[in-house]
């Protein structure tokens, strides 16, 4: 079974220590986290989106072990064909040569990115998209010189009406 990128969406208790329990589980069971992003959805609940590289069997184990954590309320895998998967990146590009500055801005436009900070020797591009798209943009920027990158990690929602929600007991 091939290893590939898997996106797992979870609803968790929104309280201290939960991230520790989740990351501890990954360490303890020898699962590798590619990225993890967390944000509150209501005062008691947070949504945690976890990306891993794993085969089917490991994925099943991860989902089962996550479900077992008492602070994890719901878990599901989001298959890329059936989900909107996004990542946000901020990329600081070196623009020592003013002639190249407009090239960077043009590339950013093509990728539907935005220039959000301009400085004499650099500018920051904000770009949103799938991880592949962001990888491609960063690759393009290498010729100008990439000074700093911040990526949020993947966040995702399933397509259609279906939703991950806290079920009644």
């Amino acid at each position: 079974m091939p290893e590939q990128r898997r996106v797992i969406a979870t609803l968790v208790e929104h309280k201290p220590g939960v991230l520790f329990r989740v990351s501890g589980l990954f360490r303890r069971r020898n699962f590798n986290i590619e990225s993890i992003s967390v944000g509150p959805v209501d005062p008691e609940t947070a949504r945690m989106t976890i990306t891993i590289n794993a085969d089917e069997n490991t994925l099943r184990q991860v989902v089962e072990q996550l479900s077992k954590l008492l602070d994890v309320i719901e878990v599901t895998e989001l298959r890329s064909s059936k989900a909107v998967i996004r990542e946000l990146a901020l990329i600081k590009v070196t623009t020592q040569d003013p002639a190249k500055r407009s090239d960077v801005i043009q590339y950013a436009n093509i990728f539907r990115g935005r220039v959000v900070d301009v400085y004499a020797r650099s500018l920051i591009v904000e770009i949103t998209g799938t991880p592949d798209k962001i990888d491609a943009f960063i690759e393009l920027m290498q010729e100008f010189g990439v000074r700093e990158i911040a990526r949020t990690g993947i966040t995702a929602l399933s397509r259609g009406f279906e939703a991950l929600e806290v079920k009644g007991r």
């Binding site: 968790v12 208790e13 220590g17 520790f20 329990r21 501890g24 303890r28 069997n57 099943r60 184990q61 089962e64 072990q65 479900s67 077992k68 954590l69 008492l70 602070d71 994890v72 309320i73 806290v166 007991r169």
Partner: protein, 539 residues
Amino acid sequence: MFGIPGGANIPLCDVLYESPIRWVLARHEQCAAHMAEGYARASGAVGVCVATSGPGATNLVTGIADAYMDSTPIVAFTGQVPRAMVGMDAFQEADIIGISTPVTKYNFQPRSANEIPEVVKKAFYLASTGRPGPVLVDLPKDVQTEVSEIEFPEKVVVRGYRPNRDPDPLQVKKAAEMLLEAERPVILAGGGVVNANATAELVSLAEYLLTPVETTLMGKGAFPENHPLSLGLLGMHGTRMSNAVTLEADLILAVGMRFSDRTTGNPREFAAGAKIIHMDIDSAEIGKNIRADHAVVSDAKKGLRALLSAVAELAARRQDTVWSKRVRELKDQLNGEGKTNSSPLSPPKLMKHLRELLPSEGIVTTEVGQNQMWAALHFQALTPRTYITSGGLGTMGFGFPAALGAKVAKPSTPVVDIAGDGSFIMTEQELATSVVEKIPVLVTVLNNSVLGMVAQWQRLFYNRRYFGVNLKGVPDFAKLADAYGAEGRRVESYGDFRRAVAEAVRSEVTTVIDIPISPEENVFPMIPPGKSLKDMLWE
């Protein structure tokens, strides 16, 4: 309540001053945790242990980890430094929440007195429901002393927790069909059957289908070992008949167990010719170690009951079958106790004598190592909760404090710790607890003056390069017992042994029986580590 007070839990201990709760003062926190485990395993109720902050709390960890591996319901209360000092590396501060998280089902640190009722109720609820396990409650000292008007909740809700779901009827029906289609089925029962009190259901199903039953170490006692369908233990030190029957089986119904490596040997080769139905309360166990052809997620009691009704709807009670004849034949052929050394007292024979001397509800606990495996192979457990051992973690020193906990739970039942000298030394100071708190148990020390199981591995797999295993016959266990005010005996013959056991059981005085055995003695059968059932060594 088993525990030790200290600076950070004095307020908690202070309220016990006028409480009807029995307090048993342990002499080491690890033992307090094992006592709570022994209490829980013997009674089915939650065991409680108490320690102070820092070293008190960290000393509990081995016992908590043991309870986690063996799905034993205990609640541990630890003291903690006052809230304002948490994180300042205060005196006797340890991050016990961080330390215990991987070995507890859950843990809590209430930050105000108002949280305590809900936290405590949740702790007992979580420890005892679903797949049982240890829960830790860490109480900062100023939270213990805070005075507040508090409401006690009737019910607690944990959103991410769904214990005790009913088995899915379709999963059950398919399992029933597979079971009936199989020509050579065998049932493999684990500790989940004991935890769910499902022995009656297991016996009914096995008898209905004339299916032989083998157990894991934790499952010992889940099925009466004097039953004609019982094959005993399966695994690294399983019986010859269990291992042989498993190799011939075409279907294994595994109930309330997790396919530990000590049960399966090499997981890729385990019962390669058999289909596997895995019934367990914890869905995360399905497919974790061993592929399952079919799964029923359920506790053993509900699952086995549903399975029997599904089977009974499809087929009549089985009379003699070709397979049941074959199983009987294998049982008769392979029933020997194996070759023992030239020592005057053979551990397998001692186990058989002990069985004769104890009532069927008599409880044995074991230490870890050869003593544990001789007991597992040769001491027949006839009823559930009478064979209490450290299965998953394999904690030497477990048996004696666990025996004390079991005796507190069942004061009128004789309790015997089947020990080795190496293990007993690890927690022997609890003789003080046993004597002072009037918790009489019997310790039978199979004394070979070596760390016997390690020596056995060095003998078999390391070319007899014995290293770090020689205990040199120290201490004199009879004198040691005497020093604590307990009874100490050294026996030289089976007659001596029988008399000493009978006297200890009758007198209800804490007794240590020192039994010299040969350091060359091996536990057989044995499957070498990493090998599979077919590679079993017999001598």
